[in-house]
Symmetry: C2
Subunit: 329 residues, 2 copies
């Protein structure tokens, strides 16, 4: 019972998946389906007694390598386009320790995760039905996680989804006008300004974007033009893991609790080499908090208008996060 | 301390407003700043002992008719464009009764509100600094309301914000290809199909969109091409109020509690007549619930990718809402 439908008034696809309504919802730690299988206990999603990192297809998949025919048919005409739910929806378990978060794991284990992301980006990208690979993590009940065990997700979409597409077309216009990658220009400018930088090393820089939409939004971008994780050398992958770990520590230090966030890895589309010149690897963190006890809700202006209001100036947010990142031993 | 900044990597403006961080947050009913002023008590936002409908400038405005110069200056170059926070952010109080919701008020009072929306759309649209008027309501703590008193908001943006712009450019492409307004075509198709219709009368139809992004999303659209509320006759305004009241009742009946939602009125931009042929008045309701006890959170795929997953097929959602709407005496 999965299918995708095109909205003729916006050009956006929505994926329907009735079975997802039945998915496991906030089980207790004792019944976590992502923990290793304990001897004598019912089998979890992972039939082993321990593990480092595990990747598997979502048990309640939205997108599939071999999807069933769309239940509502495919003859709706241009106003009602329907397609099968082709693609991929994978789960990445970060650790067999139920109580850890990515922030707790430190740079070496984040480094291993970067390797997994690169591997899945390459393999999913090779599939015919996948045009864009989105690596992401939804963290915290404030972001709607239904399972607390530390994990991320990887979606393989059959076309470039709206926000990456907007970023790519904006960058293409900038390239046409200026002859440069807008992300390369932004990274150089942020490093020169310094006031919005949270942390940096030889290959990556973390900064609160000049026009951040969320109060404590942080982007971690490659200093040189690299379209995807596959373009990074081993030392560059180390450097990425170091900066990611630093940002995660700063977030948890900001309010004194594990910071909820959405983390999204932006990389090049996998079916169309024309985007390589304007695809610039970066990781976007968008935490929902505006204060320790207050969330920034998205509502009429943001969801209805697409126009964000932000109560925290980026320079102020960066100063707070930088102070924590730099105080770390 | 307000300003607007352009994101050079997406072309989107974000509005900063440090003072909003201090805004009143979920006061008790006894301290509601939107209630009428009680004799002998401190003055609220409304210095009267009772009222019907009140419109006033937001006390913590994001956008202003006469904004201060942007605090971070305006000399950032094309990568860091900054502008003053010009525009309007108004509050519309629906009733002096703190405990009412719009759903409780019934069609005659919704009709009066439609008149207020039309009036504000016209007046704000005439201002030089306003290019697009967005009438909306954020309802319920699930949508982040900071004040429970029944109220909506009206923003006047200095340019067409991203989502209305996407809708307009998509409709313009449809007009170019087919010679018709895509919304007129969709409304005719929904009425012919019937399966997604929630309610209708001689002038307006309420339906769950064919590619709805939210489980119980409903659009209320004019059956004829009307770019804004100003194009409606008095009987058409009556008809709009009737269908809105019906949808609101159906929502509250769906799960047996006052349904949170974002409601947004889509109308023509106010500075550029070229959009009139593709601007089609409609009201979009996007409630966050997917079940009585579960919200549909926006996270990695929706916020990071712009690609929505929906667990409820539109025909099923429409059947449930229609059943409630039609059972009403």
């Amino acid at each position: 019972m999965n299918e995708r439908r095109l909205d003729a008034t916006t050009g956006e696809w929505t994926t329907y998946s009735a079975a997802r309504q039945e998915r496991t919802f906030l089980p207790s730690a004792a019944h976590c389906p992502l923990c290793p299988t304990r001897p004598g206990e019912p089998q979890t999603e992972v039939p082993r007694s321990s593990y480092e990192v595990v990747v598997f297809d979502n048990r309640f998949p939205a997108l599939m390598a071999d999807p069933p025919p769309p239940p509502s048919g495919a003859a709706g005409g241009p106003l009602q386009r329907v397609e099968a739910a082709a693609g991929a929806t994978e789960v990445v378990l970060y650790s067999d320790d139920h109580a850890l978060t990515l922030a707790d794991m430190g740079a070496p284990r984040v480094r291993r995760l970067v390797e997994v992301w690169a591997d899945r980006y390459e393999r999913l990208g090779l599939r015919d039905e996948v045009a864009y690979v989105l690596v992401f993590e939804n963290k915290g009940e404030a972001m709607g996680v239904t399972l607390h065990h530390p994990h991320g997700q990887i979606y393989g979409y059959p076309e470039i989804p709206p926000r990456p597409r907007l970023e790519l077309t904006t960058a293409a216009a900038h390239l046409e006008a200026n002859g440069t990658c807008v992300h390369c220009d932004v990274v150089a400018r942020e490093r020169a300004d310094g006031v919005r930088v949270v942390d940096e090393n030889r290959s990556f820089v973390a900064y609160v974007p000049f026009a951040a939409r969320y109060p404590y939004e942080v982007h971690v971008a490659s200093r040189r033009h690299a379209p995807s994780l596959l373009d990074l050398t081993d030392p560059e992958r180390d450097a990425l893991a170091d900066v990611l770990a630093s940002v995660l520590r700063a977030y948890d230090g900001l309010f004194g609790f594990p910071m909820p966030y959405v983390m999204v890895v932006h990389q090049a589309p996998t079916d169309d080499g024309r985007w390589l010149a304007v695809s610039h690897l970066h990781v976007e963190f968008t935490p929902p908090h505006r204060e320790a006890g207050k969330l920034k809700y998205l509502a009429g202006s943001e969801l209805g208008g697409g126009a964000f209001l932000n109560d925290v100036f980026p320079e102020e947010a960066a100063a707070r996060l930088r102070g924590i990142a730099r105080s770390w031993p």
